[in-house]
């Protein structure tokens, strides 16, 4: 029996957060009164005690080298007593006690290429997945498209001039590690062809019952191939989810010519005004076109621009579309409505127009 090394530390959990809290945050923990926005990316939180803490938020590419993290650490030492945090959307936030440090910090961040913004009615950073940088099942890259889209929407990050918050997310396959399904605009990598079956590999590495059970639509059945047990895919039942590939590496479905992207709109997670809701299909397919994906960038920018021109104050993308109706959304954006926009999966009827409420 192999023995475990002595004194191996396990199961300690993360460091306790209290060690990392700015003294002013510790002092006023649970006793904040209100906050105001001093500029895009700059917040001031005021405590019951009268203390004020200033937050400067900057965008990051999420994929960070240790060199850049050390740069953030140095900036924190210089301007925020060494205290900083990250947001759920991969922004970095410096927590400042001294208001006078805001402008110098902003200047240094700008010089290093990190834009300050992303608050309130700005477009915050795009949450995204790994893509070709690190994922086996991705139908597209993630970091590259995010970079291109944010290049085009840069001013929307540094200005708060939209009618409401606008949250964009990207996932590079239907697994949605980035859970993009409730975003104002979701960019979703999709496969469009059934998996290719590598029968020789499958025989050696996969459990056939598990592969069959993995298919949500029952499209995989057992088959004998060259005298050996294997599986076959009923191609018209496959919706390219890749679940079989996840349980069995002998079912790859990467296909450069047919993989690409889809665009979804109108989702949200916040409960403000309307209830949280899923994003809905806007564009069923855009081919991969690296390195700059101009078609995807144009599609997203177009939706943002049309929304910005037409939505009323406080209307999120989905709330705006609720008011004007989907026909008008397609008309205003110039996006073609196709057969693919009509749901034909489970509970499809729930998205049909089941009333005579029609706008002409």
């Amino acid at each position: 029996m192999a023995t475990a090394p002595v004194k191996r530390i396990t199961d300690i959990g993360p460091p306790h957060y209290e060690k990392f809290l700015h003294p002013m945050i510790k002092k006023n923990y649970g006793n904040w009164k209100y906050h105001e926005t001093l500029a895009p990316g700059v917040l001031c939180h005021v405590a019951e005690s009268g203390d004020r803490i200033y937050t400067v938020r900057a965008g990051s590419p999420r994929l960070l080298s240790v060199a850049t993290i050390r740069l953030f650490a140095d900036l924190a030492d210089k301007y925020s007593g060494g205290y900083l945090r990250f947001t759920s959307r991969n922004n970095v936030e410096f927590l400042l006690e001294d208001k006078g440090n805001i402008e110098p910090l902003k200047r240094e961040l700008a010089a290093a290429g990190f834009p300050v913004g992303g608050t309130n009615n700005a477009i915050s950073n795009i949450v995204h997945t790994q893509g070709w940088v690190h994922c086996h099942s991705s139908a597209t890259d993630a970091s590259g498209i995010v970079k291109c889209v944010m290049d085009a929407l840069y001013d929307r990050f540094t200005h708060e001039d939209l009618p409401a918050k606008l949250r964009i997310a990207l996932a590079c396959c239907l697994n949605m590690c980035g859970a993009v399904h409730c975003s104002d605009i979701a960019i979703l990598g999709i496969h469009r062809r059934p998996p290719k079956i590598l029968h020789e590999t499958l025989r050696k590495v996969c459990e056939i019952p598990t592969v069959i059970a993995s298919c949500p639509t029952g499209a995989i059945r057992s088959a004998t191939v060259n005298g050996n047990p294997s599986v076959e895919v009923v191609e018209e039942q496959c919706m390219y989810c890749g679940n079989c590939y996840t349980v069995c590496p002998a079912m790859p479905l990467n296909d450069p010519e047919n993989d690409g992207l889809s665009i979804w709109v109108g989702g949200k997670v916040s409960n403000a005004r309307s209830a949280p809701t899923f994003s809905k299909l806007a564009i069923p397919f855009i081919p991969n076109n690296p390195p700059r994906w101009p078609e995807v960038v144009n599609a997203v920018v177009n939706i943002v621009d049309v929304y910005a021109r037409n939505a009323r104050r406080f209307e999120r993308v989905g709330e705006w579309i609720d008011r004007i109706g989907w026909p008008r959304f397609f008309e205003l954006t110039g996006i073609e409505f196709t057969r693919y926009h009509i749901d034909d999966f489970k509970y499809a009827g729930l998205t049909f127009a089941r009333s005579a409420h029609l706008r002409y």
Binding site: T10, A76, P115, W132, P249, N271
Partner: protein, 399 residues
């Protein structure tokens, strides 16, 4: 794929250094200055850009001793061309609640990762972990040793409780209705075994949001979504409301008309809220943070079942317990989750999330199974189809 100088050829990726937004390609190049594996990463990524496909293989059978999660195995399918990324495993490092750090803590992490891996990270991954991107199998134990000595531990992957995450909460937000960071930290610590040693049918996520703005997307992304709310009246400062009006805010149009239940009236001088009809959506509070605040009787709603589409379609969480007072939250959560995990362990299939199990067996049967009474807050409306499964005389034929 190297040119005469040994530098990777990356014409397509070089395009992504252009433009105003911070460039991940620049980050990879920065890391490459001290880490040769990043040259091969660039090389392989360039090939992916040329061929429009991933060159990572299905992986996932590496880890540190004793843990079944926290490391994602990753292997190149071009190992001869890019030997330095033949293994390129990810470590998920459990982040501190609220993603707060000191500069020293960050430097410690950077030093460890520079010694043992690519020097590339995600701050942070989708679930919330610090992601250390790319190392070899032999480096996993040494990295883990240094991490634990520095007070960090791995996060979750596979069929475990995934690393819980939370919003900034009471650390810097006046709207937090319970201490999200303390709750997240406590649950993470209490269930270390469930986080590191896969014993579930599939993944299980907790997310803690302090108010219904839900800044960590708990309702969309967590099997158990804990969303702060309050039970009494919105705290209202009439003088501050008047100031907002005086400063040009159109209270009728921008506040009252946007209220989803129309529970507010503005007569030009005074705002009146019918709190019984308020659904705690946060809109009016978001618009007038100096004048309106969540009530004093604070706590959380517990919702269950959200997930992304794989397998049976995406789900949003739905209400399980409409309100738990803040001071009872952790005890309630622990009791609840032990019953949920028992039920899921008993009836869940491989790769079946709790939300999908509930869809399959029915919410009513699930409630019976965990010993919770049905309440009207759980539904948007009662059922509209007449196909009711009536129980037998004993009333226990449900499950």
């Amino acid at each position: 794929m190297a040119d005469g100088n040994g530098k990777p050829k990356a014409q397509m990726l070089d395009e992504l250094e252009k433009g105003p937004w911070p460039s991940f390609v620049k980050e990879i190049k920065k890391a490459a200055e001290t880490s040769p594996v990043c040259h091969d990463l660039m090389g392989q990524l360039e090939v992916s850009y040329e061929e429009k496909r991933s060159h990572w293989k299905h992986g996932g059978i590496v880890g540190v001793l004793g843990y079944g999660g926290g490391v994602i195995g990753r292997y190149s399918d071009l190992p001869d061309q890019f030997p330095n990324v033949a293994h390129f495993h990810t470590l998920r490092v459990n982040h501190p609640s609220g993603w707060f750090y000191t500069s020293d803590a960050l430097r410690t992490l950077c030093d460890i990762w520079e010694r043992h891996g690519s020097g590339l990270t995600n701050m942070h991954g989708s679930t919330g972990d610090i992601v250390f991107l790319g190392t070899k199998t032999d480096e996993l134990e040494p990295t883990f040793k240094e991490l634990t000595e520095a007070g960090f531990d791995l996060g979750g992957s596979g069929s475990v409780m995934r690393t819980p995450s939370c919003c900034v909460g009471q650390a810097r937000c006046e709207w937090a209705c319970y201490d999200t960071m303390a709750a997240c930290d406590d649950i993470t610590r209490t269930y270390q075994d469930e986080l590191h040693r896969p014993a579930f049918p599939y993944k299980f996520k907790f997310k803690f949001s302090g108010c219904p703005n839900d800044c960590v997307a708990a309702i969309a992304r967590a099997d158990l979504s804990i969303i702060g709310t309050w039970r009494d009246d919105i705290q209202q400062d009439d003088a501050a409301v008047a100031e907002y009006a005086a400063s040009g805010l159109n209270i009728q149009k921008d506040v009252c008309n946007r209220c989803p239940t129309h529970c507010m009236e503005w007569d030009g001088k005074k705002l009146t809220i019918e709190n019984k009809e308020c659904v705690r959506c946060m809109h009016c509070i978001n618009v007038m943070p100096k004048a309106l605040r969540p009530g004093k009787e604070k706590g959380a709603a517990i919702l269950i079942g959200a997930k992304a589409p794989i397998l049976q379609g995406a789900l949003l969480s739905s209400v399980l317990i409409p309100f738990v007072p803040a001071e009872e939250l952790l005890d309630t959560l622990k009791e609840l989750v032990s019953r949920i995990w028992d039920f899921w362990g008993e009836y869940g299939k491989n790769r079946e999330r709790i939300g999908e199990l509930i869809q399959r067996v029915g919410m009513a049967n699930f409630l019976d199974g965990i010993g919770l009474d049905p309440v009207p807050e759980m539904v948007g409306s009662p059922r509209d189809n007449p196909y009711i499964y009536f129980q037998g005389k004993d009333g226990d034929q449900g499950t």
